[in-house]
Amino acid sequence: MVSAIFITLLFITGIYCIMASYNLVRVLIGVEILIKAVTLMIIVVGSACGRLALAQSLVITLIVVEVVVITVAVGVVLGIHTHNNSLDVRKVRRLKG
Protein backbone atom coordinates (compact mmCIF):
# COMPACT_ATOMS: atom_id res chain seq x y z
CA MET A 1 0.00 0.00 0.00
CA VAL A 2 1.74 3.12 -1.30
CA SER A 3 0.00 5.58 1.01
CA ALA A 4 1.19 3.76 4.15
CA ILE A 5 4.81 4.16 3.04
CA PHE A 6 4.44 7.89 2.43
CA ILE A 7 2.57 8.38 5.72
CA THR A 8 5.55 6.77 7.48
CA LEU A 9 7.98 9.03 5.60
CA LEU A 10 5.97 12.13 6.53
CA PHE A 11 5.96 10.99 10.16
CA ILE A 12 9.74 10.45 10.13
CA THR A 13 10.25 13.92 8.63
CA GLY A 14 8.20 15.52 11.42
CA ILE A 15 9.93 13.57 14.19
CA TYR A 16 13.38 14.40 12.77
CA CYS A 17 12.49 18.08 12.53
CA ILE A 18 11.39 18.17 16.17
CA MET A 19 14.52 16.38 17.34
CA ALA A 20 17.09 18.27 15.25
CA SER A 21 15.75 21.83 15.49
CA TYR A 22 16.83 24.44 17.99
CA ASN A 23 14.37 27.09 16.82
CA LEU A 24 10.98 26.95 18.52
CA VAL A 25 9.08 27.95 15.35
CA ARG A 26 10.73 25.12 13.45
CA VAL A 27 9.77 22.69 16.22
CA LEU A 28 6.16 23.80 15.78
CA ILE A 29 6.49 23.24 12.04
CA GLY A 30 7.65 19.70 12.83
CA VAL A 31 4.56 19.18 14.97
CA GLU A 32 2.45 20.42 12.05
CA ILE A 33 4.08 17.89 9.69
CA LEU A 34 3.30 15.14 12.23
CA ILE A 35 -0.34 16.24 12.34
CA LYS A 36 -0.47 16.17 8.53
CA ALA A 37 0.70 12.55 8.62
CA VAL A 38 -2.02 11.67 11.14
CA THR A 39 -4.67 13.47 9.06
CA LEU A 40 -3.65 11.55 5.96
CA MET A 41 -3.61 8.28 7.92
CA ILE A 42 -7.17 8.78 9.21
CA ILE A 43 -8.50 9.54 5.73
CA VAL A 44 -6.64 6.63 4.11
CA VAL A 45 -7.83 4.17 6.77
CA GLY A 46 -11.40 5.49 6.51
CA SER A 47 -11.27 5.10 2.75
CA ALA A 48 -9.85 1.56 2.99
CA CYS A 49 -12.42 0.49 5.59
CA GLY A 50 -15.36 2.09 3.79
CA ARG A 51 -16.09 4.41 6.74
CA LEU A 52 -15.17 7.66 5.05
CA ALA A 53 -17.91 9.70 6.74
CA LEU A 54 -16.60 8.77 10.18
CA ALA A 55 -13.03 9.50 9.08
CA GLN A 56 -14.07 12.93 7.81
CA SER A 57 -15.78 13.82 11.08
CA LEU A 58 -12.65 12.74 12.99
CA VAL A 59 -10.46 14.82 10.67
CA ILE A 60 -12.66 17.89 11.26
CA THR A 61 -12.25 17.41 15.01
CA LEU A 62 -8.50 16.95 14.53
CA ILE A 63 -8.21 20.18 12.52
CA VAL A 64 -10.09 22.16 15.18
CA VAL A 65 -7.80 20.82 17.91
CA GLU A 66 -4.75 21.43 15.69
CA VAL A 67 -5.62 25.09 15.16
CA VAL A 68 -6.15 25.71 18.85
CA VAL A 69 -2.94 23.92 19.82
CA ILE A 70 -0.87 25.84 17.27
CA THR A 71 -2.47 29.18 18.23
CA VAL A 72 -1.73 28.72 21.92
CA ALA A 73 1.77 27.39 21.13
CA VAL A 74 2.46 30.47 18.99
CA GLY A 75 1.40 32.65 21.92
CA VAL A 76 3.75 30.74 24.21
CA VAL A 77 6.60 31.11 21.69
CA LEU A 78 6.01 34.86 21.48
CA GLY A 79 6.00 35.06 25.28
CA ILE A 80 9.31 33.18 25.42
CA HIS A 81 10.76 35.56 22.83
CA THR A 82 9.60 38.57 24.86
CA HIS A 83 11.32 37.29 27.99
CA ASN A 84 14.50 35.83 26.51
CA ASN A 85 14.87 37.81 23.26
CA SER A 86 15.61 34.54 21.48
CA LEU A 87 13.80 31.54 20.03
CA ASP A 88 16.71 29.18 20.58
CA VAL A 89 15.70 26.32 22.86
CA ARG A 90 19.24 26.20 24.31
CA LYS A 91 18.90 29.76 25.57
CA VAL A 92 15.58 29.18 27.29
CA ARG A 93 16.94 28.56 30.75
CA ARG A 94 14.70 30.76 32.86
CA LEU A 95 11.86 28.28 33.15
CA LYS A 96 10.91 27.47 36.70
CA GLY A 97 10.65 23.88 37.82
Partner: protein
Protein backbone atom coordinates in the same frame (compact mmCIF):
# COMPACT_ATOMS: atom_id res chain seq x y z
CA UNK B 1 4.07 5.95 -12.65
CA UNK B 2 0.54 6.70 -11.52
CA UNK B 3 -0.78 10.13 -10.65
CA UNK B 4 -1.32 9.15 -7.00
CA UNK B 5 2.32 8.14 -6.66
CA UNK B 6 3.41 11.47 -8.15
CA UNK B 7 1.23 13.39 -5.69
CA UNK B 8 2.58 11.39 -2.75
CA UNK B 9 6.15 12.04 -3.95
CA UNK B 10 5.37 15.76 -4.23
CA UNK B 11 3.99 15.68 -0.67
CA UNK B 12 7.17 14.09 0.68
CA UNK B 13 9.46 16.46 -1.22
CA UNK B 14 7.43 19.47 -0.05
CA UNK B 15 7.65 18.26 3.56
CA UNK B 16 11.42 17.76 3.24
CA UNK B 17 11.83 21.25 1.75
CA UNK B 18 9.69 22.72 4.52
CA UNK B 19 11.87 21.16 7.18
CA UNK B 20 15.25 21.76 5.54
CA UNK B 21 14.98 25.24 4.08
CA UNK B 22 16.98 27.83 5.98
CA UNK B 23 14.39 30.61 6.03
CA UNK B 24 11.50 30.35 8.47
CA UNK B 25 9.32 32.30 6.07
CA UNK B 26 9.96 29.71 3.37
CA UNK B 27 9.19 26.99 5.91
CA UNK B 28 5.81 28.60 6.60
CA UNK B 29 5.08 28.79 2.87
CA UNK B 30 6.22 25.18 2.47
CA UNK B 31 3.78 24.18 5.19
CA UNK B 32 0.97 25.74 3.16
CA UNK B 33 2.22 23.80 0.13
CA UNK B 34 2.17 20.53 2.11
CA UNK B 35 -1.40 21.27 3.19
CA UNK B 36 -2.45 22.07 -0.38
CA UNK B 37 -0.98 18.81 -1.71
CA UNK B 38 -2.59 16.92 1.19
CA UNK B 39 -5.91 18.50 0.19
CA UNK B 40 -5.50 17.13 -3.34
CA UNK B 41 -4.97 13.64 -1.88
CA UNK B 42 -7.99 14.02 0.43
CA UNK B 43 -10.17 15.12 -2.50
CA UNK B 44 -8.96 12.18 -4.58
CA UNK B 45 -9.97 9.87 -1.71
CA UNK B 46 -13.54 11.25 -1.95
CA UNK B 47 -13.52 13.20 1.31
CA UNK B 48 -14.48 16.72 0.18
CA UNK B 49 -15.58 18.14 3.54
CA UNK B 50 -12.30 17.24 5.24
CA UNK B 51 -10.47 18.60 2.19
CA UNK B 52 -12.25 21.95 2.44
CA UNK B 53 -11.36 22.20 6.14
CA UNK B 54 -7.75 21.25 5.42
CA UNK B 55 -7.43 23.79 2.61
CA UNK B 56 -9.12 26.69 4.37
CA UNK B 57 -7.71 26.22 7.86
CA UNK B 58 -4.41 24.37 7.52
CA UNK B 59 -3.27 25.90 4.22
CA UNK B 60 -4.69 29.33 5.00
CA UNK B 61 -4.82 30.18 8.68
CA UNK B 62 -1.88 28.30 10.20
CA UNK B 63 0.81 29.58 7.76
CA UNK B 64 -0.48 33.09 8.47
CA UNK B 65 0.08 32.44 12.18
CA UNK B 66 3.64 31.27 11.47
CA UNK B 67 4.36 34.28 9.25
CA UNK B 68 3.05 36.54 12.03
CA UNK B 69 5.40 34.91 14.53
CA UNK B 70 8.35 35.29 12.15
CA UNK B 71 7.54 38.95 11.59
CA UNK B 72 7.01 39.67 15.30
CA UNK B 73 10.28 38.08 16.41
CA UNK B 74 13.67 39.62 15.85
CA UNK B 75 15.16 38.67 12.48
CA UNK B 76 18.72 37.41 12.20
CA UNK B 77 21.49 39.30 10.46
CA UNK B 78 22.98 37.96 7.24
CA UNK B 79 26.07 36.69 9.06
CA UNK B 80 23.93 34.87 11.65
CA UNK B 81 21.86 33.29 8.89
CA UNK B 82 25.01 31.94 7.19
CA UNK B 83 26.35 30.55 10.47
CA UNK B 84 23.02 28.93 11.34
CA UNK B 85 22.71 27.52 7.81
CA UNK B 86 25.99 25.63 8.21
CA UNK B 87 24.88 24.25 11.58
CA UNK B 88 21.47 23.34 10.18
CA UNK B 89 22.95 21.56 7.18
CA UNK B 90 25.08 19.48 9.56
CA UNK B 91 22.08 18.51 11.65
CA UNK B 92 19.68 17.80 8.79
CA UNK B 93 22.05 16.08 6.34
CA UNK B 94 20.86 12.62 7.39
CA UNK B 95 17.15 13.31 6.92
CA UNK B 96 16.91 12.77 3.11
CA UNK B 97 19.01 9.62 3.43
CA UNK B 98 16.79 8.25 6.21
CA UNK B 99 13.62 9.08 4.25
CA UNK B 100 14.92 7.40 1.08
CA UNK B 101 16.21 4.33 2.99
CA UNK B 102 12.98 3.83 4.94
CA UNK B 103 10.88 4.39 1.80
CA UNK B 104 12.87 1.81 -0.16
CA UNK B 105 12.79 -0.66 2.74
CA UNK B 106 9.03 -0.34 3.19
CA UNK B 107 8.53 -0.57 -0.58
CA UNK B 108 10.59 -3.75 -0.79
CA UNK B 109 8.84 -5.30 2.21
CA UNK B 110 5.46 -4.72 0.46
CA UNK B 111 3.45 -4.82 3.68
CA UNK B 112 -0.28 -5.33 3.41
CA UNK B 113 -2.02 -3.55 6.30
CA UNK B 114 -5.21 -4.94 7.79
CA UNK B 115 -8.12 -2.85 6.53
CA UNK B 116 -11.05 -4.73 8.04
CA UNK B 117 -10.94 -2.95 11.38
CA UNK B 118 -14.27 -2.85 13.20
CA UNK B 119 -15.38 0.70 13.88
CA UNK B 120 -18.13 1.66 16.32
CA UNK B 121 -20.02 4.22 14.26
CA UNK B 122 -21.48 3.64 10.83
CA UNK B 123 -23.03 6.17 8.50
CA UNK B 124 -22.82 7.18 4.89
CA UNK B 125 -23.25 10.93 5.30
CA UNK B 126 -20.64 12.95 7.17
CA UNK B 127 -23.31 15.37 8.45
CA UNK B 128 -25.28 12.47 9.96
CA UNK B 129 -22.14 11.07 11.57
CA UNK B 130 -21.06 14.45 12.94
CA UNK B 131 -24.44 15.53 14.33
CA UNK B 132 -25.88 12.20 15.47
CA UNK B 133 -23.11 9.66 16.07
CA UNK B 134 -20.21 11.90 17.15
CA UNK B 135 -22.18 14.50 19.09
CA UNK B 136 -19.79 14.35 22.01
CA UNK B 137 -16.92 15.37 19.69
CA UNK B 138 -18.73 18.62 18.93
CA UNK B 139 -18.93 19.37 22.64
CA UNK B 140 -15.21 18.66 22.90
CA UNK B 141 -14.51 20.93 19.93
CA UNK B 142 -16.42 23.79 21.53
CA UNK B 143 -14.56 23.32 24.82
CA UNK B 144 -11.21 23.21 23.01
CA UNK B 145 -12.05 26.35 21.03
CA UNK B 146 -13.07 28.23 24.18
CA UNK B 147 -9.91 27.03 25.91
CA UNK B 148 -7.84 28.32 22.99
CA UNK B 149 -9.58 31.69 23.01
CA UNK B 150 -9.06 32.16 26.74
CA UNK B 151 -5.48 30.90 26.45
CA UNK B 152 -4.66 33.49 23.79
CA UNK B 153 -6.37 36.25 25.82
CA UNK B 154 -4.30 35.35 28.88
CA UNK B 155 -1.07 35.05 26.90
CA UNK B 156 -1.45 38.41 25.18
CA UNK B 157 -2.78 40.26 28.20
CA UNK B 158 -0.43 43.05 29.21
CA UNK B 159 1.16 42.34 32.53
CA UNK B 160 1.16 45.03 35.21
CA UNK B 161 4.61 46.40 35.75
CA UNK B 162 5.53 46.43 39.41
CA UNK B 163 7.18 49.54 40.85
Amino acid sequence: MSLDLLIYLALTIAALWTVMTRSLLRSAIGLALVSAILTIIIFRLNAPLAGVFELSVCAGLIPVLFVSVVSLTQPYTHQEIIERMKSMFTRFRFLPLIVIAVGLALGLLSLKPETSLPLPADGKDVRFVLWHLRRFDLLGQMIVLLTGVFGVVILFKERKKSG
